[in-house]
């Protein structure tokens, strides 16, 4: 099932993120996904997130699919050149994986193999372009594919609360032009900014999923403010998280905040994307509180 079809039908699409382990035993991940993510539409599988080496996204997608979930295959341009990326897209199609998310990827220097060669032969825009090209039966070398071409719902990302929204919108437009079907956003904590952004992004006519992180505490929120691109937790939320440490630690405060954000933004978006960062267990409560 392509999630673009759900958007087309006007459904509010809920997705969540899972990260493959640094190892090949996936049982725990599948178990957790089955337990907490059964209520959602699809799961994003990260691709060596933060440039930290892990089990591959493609194989994880395949195993999740076998376990009955709908995977979204994330591809970054950091580790593979155009040949490998095209090849992996065909592999995904062969496994029946229909949803992909195209990203540029963090720089190698940020991860656990800083001496690795950063590839960036393609980037998010040219990767989207490549996907659409493969779907037309051609590869980037101008050669014909043999047999039926693949078909994907190709997503992209955008940061609505970035410090330079105008540049974000310009890039979003390029992604639309290159063929993005839908967008997931970076985590939002400032509904006003998101709404303002969506007013401007409306023109592109593409569904946007609100990005959500359940904040685990004031320290984590401050860390994100200082280090994570496009994420800003406002002071009042910081105060709320700091007020009752036990409550925050138990996830109660975080879920409340995330649910509030979802409620405020829901009229302006076409779905939510939850980046639980290990707190998958809180997802059902969050969805319930948010009224989804």
């Amino acid at each position: 099932m392509k999630i673009s079809e759900l958007f087309d039908r006007g459904e509010f699409v809920v997705t969540a993120e899972v990260g493959p382990p640094k190892g090949f035993h996936l049982e725990g991940v599948i178990e957790e996904a089955k337990t907490y993510l059964s209520g959602i539409t699809a799961v994003n599988v990260t691709d060596n997130q933060s440039s930290v080496m892990r089990m591959g996204s493609l194989a994880t997608c395949k195993l999740l699919k076998d376990a009955g979930l709908t995977p979204i295959y994330q591809l970054t341009c950091r580790d593979r050149n155009r040949i490998a990326l095209e090849s992996d897209l065909l592999s995904a199609a062969a496994f029946g994986i229909e949803n992909i998310l195209c990203l540029t990827g963090d720089h190698t220097k940020l991860g656990d193999h800083p001496g690795a060669k950063p590839v960036f032969d393609l980037d998010s825009v040219s990767l989207l372009h490549t996907v659409r090209l493969l779907e037309s039966g051609k590869d980037l070398g101008g050669n014909d594919l043999v047999g039926e071409p693949p078909k994907f719902a190709a997503g992209a990302v955008v940061s609505p609360c970035s410090d330079s929204v105008d540049a974000q919108l310009a890039k979003m437009e390029r992604k639309v032009m290159a063929g993005a079907d839908y967008f997931q956003t970076q985590a939002v904590f400032e509904p006003d900014k998101f709404i303002e952004f969506m007013e401007k992004a409306k023109q592109f006519g593409k569904p946007v999923q609100l990005g959500v992180i359940i904040p685990k505490g004031a320290a984590m929120a401050r860390y994100m403010n200082n280090n994570v691109a496009g994420v800003h937790v406002p002071d009042d939320m910081l105060a709320e998280l700091a007020a009752d440490k036990e409550r925050a630690k138990a996830g109660i405060t975080g879920v409340e905040i995330a649910a509030r954000v979802i409620k405020a933004c829901r009229p302006y978006c076409q779905g939510v994307h939850i980046m639980a960062l290990g707190w998958e267990k809180h997802i059902p409560a969050l969805l319930e509180q948010a009224g989804i």
């Binding site: 190698t108 800083p114 001496g115 690795a116 060669k117």
Partner: protein, 653 residues
């Protein structure tokens, strides 16, 4: 030599699409670098202008420039060039030039050319790839053949197995690099060593733009400190800087040239057979720019004759047989307190003492002291930026009070309220001494300048310390400054306080080929040959001997020539055999020229016989500091060419 081109015009189709929607365009084209420098003009500019006009575009003008990426020079050259009404600028250049323009021009800037990938072409290896600058040189494991460049796959651990008959799978005309490496290792008996090497991995984190940016920033700071250009030759001062100043014995026969300053040689006022005394005037100033000469010993004049001396303008020398009695001339007596002397008195004393600039140029100091313009700062050049030489350094340490006295005398002579002693930061002991000596002294200060050659040149010193630019063809007085060498002001102090004219100076005898380097107080007329011998002689026979420093010193192939007023050093160093090769237009000479000239053109235009061109490019502004020749990668004797060029330009007038 093949031309190694940096950029190529984009194809007509792409240019047409870029041109669409633009009009009233101005074209800036770079004359390319790293190429055989045969013609001044490159055809790309005209080709582009033609194409634009064919598209019906109005071209408001075009401008060709060398080294467009040299932002400082480009900014100056471009001032007022782009006409009113221009809407956009097209640049024919490599990416550096295009970006320089994009920064300088506040109009849309378009690239009309593509920069070509030349990764690996460096140094003189212009037409072949030789180094990929990977930041973790593997040549030690591969017998000096680069696996990163020579192997199509840049493999580090041996061949891929794709080679056929020793040729690369990617290019059948190319030898398999790893087969070459294998043969080389075999030949040098290093195969076993290679086999034991651990597995090699590239560390892409090492090529770190941050590291590079830091380099670039520190270079920028150093390169542009105080004034444009200049170089940092190895100082090599450690050979003599720890040696105390010793008095060098006078010779039995002293040969004193009558031409020791710039301008006319002095007229002899003694005759053969005359007995002369120490400090007695033997040559009279012969014109406005000329300086008197005095006897440095007592004895008998035995000849007045022509003696060849490369550091003088030729002319007569007075030869004196020293009686070793050191009888002082009656004229040598203190001239009174500074407070009692008028500016005119000071100028007269300096003139009578035959004082001329002791930094090397030898301009008569008394002339400098009548600037004819208001002066607000006297700069004492105590930089001693010449490599090797330590004479001024020793003088600073030995005679601080005399230096300060001399400075006061100059300030009084030119009515300057301020005196500044400029010392380079490689002489911390002198800086400390002078800072404490000058503390509380009215109007006198010490400025510490970061070492850079030719800091001691008047115009550079003024720019560095006062931030003023002496106009082309102008003098320091035009910007309210007088510059004196530190040894010169010490001589002024001696002339006033002791009444002793200029008859001796401190000389550094140094260089890798001098057996026992040292600093000596030497009377004028002593032969450099005797000095070198007293220092243990030369350590090898293939040497360069110079009077002065390695940069601006004058070669003395025959060392039997007299020490004179401008002799701050007698140096000998190993001959670095080179031969001139063609100019590759690397542009370094333009990058280091402190006068902001383009020395490469002086060589080119002289070859072409274009003397007017030499004049137009301000060859006369050149002060022959030798930075260009020092940096020249083709080893072109640029200063010699410039001297020829200047002579030719004089012929024009």
């Amino acid at each position: 030599m093949e031309n190694y081109t940096k950029y190529r015009l984009k194809d007509a189709e792409e240019l047409s699409s870029v041109l669409a929607g633009t009009d009233k365009i101005f074209v800036v084209a770079c004359n390319k670098c790293f190429k055989e420098f045969t013609s001044v003009d490159e055809p790309d500019c005209e080709a582009f202008v033609k194409l634009a006009e064919e598209q019906g575009k109005t071209v408001t003008g075009s401008f060709k420039v060398d080294f467009l990426c040299n932002r400082i020079q480009t900014e100056r050259k471009l001032a007022g060039v782009i006409p009113e009404g221009t809407e956009c600028v097209f640049v024919v250049s490599c990416g550096l030039g295009i970006q320089t323009m994009a920064e300088l021009v506040k109009k849309p800037v378009f690239a009309a050319s593509n920069s070509l990938n030349y990764t690996g072409h460096h140094g003189m290896a212009l037409t072949k790839k030789a180094c990929d600058a990977c930041a973790q040189c593997f040549l030690n494991i591969t017998g000096g053949i680069c696996p990163v460049v020579d192997c199509s796959k840049s493999l580090l651990n041996g061949q891929c197995g794709g080679a056929k008959d020793g040729k690369c799978e990617v290019d059948p005309n190319k030898d398999c690099a790893w087969e070459k490496i294998y043969r080389k290792l075999e030949q040098t008996g290093r195969l076993e060593e290679f086999e034991k090497q651990p597995v090699q991995l590239r560390d892409y984190n090492k090529v770190n733009f941050k590291v590079i940016s830091e380099y670039v920033q520190s270079i920028r700071e150093k390169r542009l400190d105080g004034y444009y250009g200049g170089v940092h030759p190895s100082e090599r001062k450690e050979m003599s800087e720890h040696c105390p100043v010793e008095v060098f014995p006078e010779s039995d026969i002293m040969v004193i040239p009558l031409s020791q300053a710039s301008g006319k040689p002095a007229n002899p006022i003694v005759q053969v057979g005359d007995h002369v005394k120490v400090g007695q005037k033997i040559g009279e100033k012969a014109g406005f720019i000329s300086a008197a000469v005095h006897s440095s010993v007592s004895g008998e004049v035995i000849a007045i004759e022509e003696r060849v001396h490369p550091a003088t303008r030729g002319g007569l020398s007075v030869v004196i047989r020293n009686d070793h009695k050191d009888t002082l001339d009656e004229s040598v007596k203190p001239k009174g307190a500074l407070e009692d002397l008028s500016p005119e008195d000071i100028v007269k004393i300096v003139e009578d003492a035959g004082i001329a600039g002791m930094g090397g140029a030898g301009f008569p100091t008394s002339v400098k002291l009548v600037p004819g313009k208001p002066i607000d700062a006297v700069l004492i050049n105590a930089c001693e930026c010449e490599p090797m030489i330590t004479a001024d350094h020793k003088l600073l340490l030995g005679y601080p009070d005399e230096v300060i006295f001399g400075l006061r005398a100059v300030m009084k002579a030119v009515s300057s309220p301020k005196g500044i002693i400029v010392i380079e930061d490689n002489k911390p002991d002198a800086i400390e001494l002078f800072k404490s000596k000058c503390e509380g002294l009215d109007g006198i200060e010490v400025v510490v300048a970061r070492t850079k050659y030719p800091q001691g040149a008047e115009k550079m010193l003024i720019k560095r310390v006062l931030g003023r630019m002496v106009p082309s063809g102008g003098l320091p007085a035009d910007v309210g400054a007088v510059v004196c060498n530190v040894s010169t002001v010490k001589a002024i102090s001696d002339a006033i306080q002791l009444g002793m004219p200029l008859i001796e100076r401190i000389v550094s005898v140094t260089g890798e080929c001098i057996k026992n380097p040292g600093n000596y107080l030497i009377r004028f007329g002593v032969s450099a040959k005797d000095v070198i011998e007293a220092c243990g002689g030369l350590t090898c026979d293939d040497v360069v001997t110079k009077m002065g420093g390695p940069m601006m010193g004058i070669p003395i192939p025959n060392v039997d020539v007299a020490v004179i007023k401008g002799t701050n050093g007698i140096i000998a160093y190993e001959n670095d055999h080179t031969q001139e090769v063609e100019c590759i237009k690397c542009g370094r000479c333009a990058d280091v020229c402190p006068m902001e000239l383009e020395p490469l053109y002086f060589n080119r235009l002289l070859k072409d016989g274009n003397i007017q061109g030499l004049k137009d490019m301000n060859i006369n502004d050149c002060m022959e500091c030798r930075c260009c020749e020092y940096i020249c990668s083709s080893k072109i004797p640029l200063v010699t060419r410039i001297k020829e060029g200047k002579a030719a330009v004089r012929g024009l007038n």
